[in-house]
Amino acid sequence: MMKRWLIVVVTLFLSILAGCTLPLSMDQPEKIALSHQQPHPCRAGLYISQELQDAVHVVTTSPVDRMSYPIGDQTRQVFQINLPAVFQEVIAVDSKTPSQAVDVIIEPSIVKFEAKVPMPAYNPYEANMTYHVDVYNKSGEKIFAQTATGKAQSSKGLMSGFSARKISATVAQMAMNDAAKQIMEGLAEAEELQNP
């Protein structure tokens, strides 16, 4: 009887620990509503570096708990979903090397990501995301660069203290969407990309 209880307690403890170190679960990003009219009439290659793909932001909230934000994977998805609204055709490319297969290569990167998990929980959850994007033409020359900062805040902490991970993930996604929207609008407006 004693042994069974010990197994239950140890399993529960290990499950809690495993739960605490798992990456935050983020919903699939939604398509951002953009105000521009027509996409650029060119074929764009989206280059996501391995460094960006693997980017994870960790916030340690207690000695046994930390929040691990999969910001690289989310960024990849945000750009994959939204870039087709800016360029007529978008394909994934695995290198920045100029190619005849695409007119421009788009390389996003994360300049800075900051997430505040409040302690005590009734203070606001906040996130700031700053994206940078470089655009190269067929000769490999950089023809456009832009940086955009997105911010988000939420105050749902006290009534849902056990949902801290969910709130943190939502606020991070709001900040990413805010920054990504500005990047997409900047790309759509760029004269440099009209005839790359």
Partner: protein, 342 residues
């Protein structure tokens, strides 16, 4: 019995303070540059790319006491508009440093880069502030659209009043015909507000510009439309906590507020403080008002000036309370516009 206990506790506290303070290794150092008026920053590691490792010592020339710490050495970074930045290592025996700065040339026109100056602004276009008032409660938060709009209008009015003795002002409302231009301008100004260091900006070797051609064009078009030499952008938010939230929190936390970077630096310099320690990133706050401001040259898209700060809750229905906040936020700006200085 009480007295010895107090003495022991006091002794323990003093010992703890002593343990946490860095070792004092003070030595006098005279810093001169040619030309003078270069901003000198200080690092104990030689690393200046990370803002948190930087302390501002002030513009040259000066002679001050420096703490050389346990490593017995320090690094100085010297920056001046139009000159190559220099980093040098100094030791207590150095005593006097004289640095000859090397001029930079503009790579596009091969001309020397002009010194920083804010003169020549006769008409200022003030954009409708991006400002929201957020009502926070235990279970959530909501932007109060009506009060936010009133706050934006009060801000605009008080900003115009503040600069009225200095120059003419025009207001750029978010009208249909300006919508795209304003969006473009804001997009590039936000990262500048986030990442540019307000204290070092006038001394940066190269002038910082809005990043994209479309936002520089937007600045030009908006400036031309308003017949203004510069555009003033203000953004921020005010977190207001409900009475029940405040009541629930009493005794649990103290809301800390900081004031503007430029204002804090000016006050530190006026007091004769040897170093100004700051971090350009904004701290988290539960209740209070965050304001950031940037001045953009409408002809070139150059970021001419910026500042930001955190204040307590401002009642926007009482404009008199806004005046000291604006004086702090725009600390030194009117003077720099009058005399062309920094």
């Amino acid at each position: 019995m009480k007295l010895p206990l107090l003495a022991v506790l006091g002794g323990l506290l003093l010992a703890l303070i002593g343990c946490s303070a860095p070792p004092r290794n003070m030595h006098r150092l005279k810093v001169e540059t040619s030309p003078d008026d270069a901003m000198v920053s200080l690092s104990t590691t030689g690393e200046f790319s990370n803002q948190s490792g930087r302390t501002i010592a002030g513009p040259s020339p000066f002679e001050k006491e420096f703490n050389f710490g346990a490593s017995n050495r320090l690094w100085l970074e010297i920056e001046r508009r139009g000159y190559r930045p220099e980093v040098i290592e100094v030791q207590p025996e150095t005593q006097v440093v004289h640095i000859q700065l090397t001029p930079l040339r503009d790579k596009n026109i091969a001309q020397p880069i002009e010194d920083y100056s804010l003169s020549g602004i006769r008409r200022l276009a003030v954009l409708q502030p991006e400002f929201e008032i957020i009502n926070r409660q235990f279970s959530g938060e909501e932007v109060d659209q009506v009060v936010s709009q009133q706050a934006r209008e009060t801000l605009l009015e008080e900003i115009r009043r503040y600069f009225s003795a200095q120059c003419e002002t025009a207001v750029l409302a978010p009208a249909q015909q300006n919508g795209k231009l304003l969006k473009s301008l804001w997009r590039d100004t936000r990262p500048a507000m986030e990442f540019l260091d307000p204290i070092r900006l006038p001394y940066l070797p190269l002038p910082p510009y809005l990043e994209t051609r479309s936002s520089r064009k937007a600045a030009r078009d908006l400036g031309k439309g308003a017949n203004a030499q510069a555009l003033l952008l203000i953004m921020g938010k005010q977190n207001r906590e409900s009475a029940s939230l405040v009541a629930g929190k009493i005794g649990m936390t103290v809301v800390g507020t900081a004031t503007s970077y430029a204002g804090s630096y000016s006050r530190a310099a006026a007091r004769g403080d040897s170093f100004f320690v700051y971090n350009i990133y904004t701290p988290s706050f539960a209740q209070g008002t965050l304001l950031s401001a940037a001045l953009i040259d409408s002809a070139t898209g150059e970021v001419l000036w910026l500042n930001k700060g955190l204040w307590g809750a401002i009642p926007f229905d009482d404009p008199a309370t806004l005046k000291p906040v604006l004086e702090d936020l725009f600390s030194g700006l009117r003077e720099a516009m009058s005399n062309g200085g920094k």
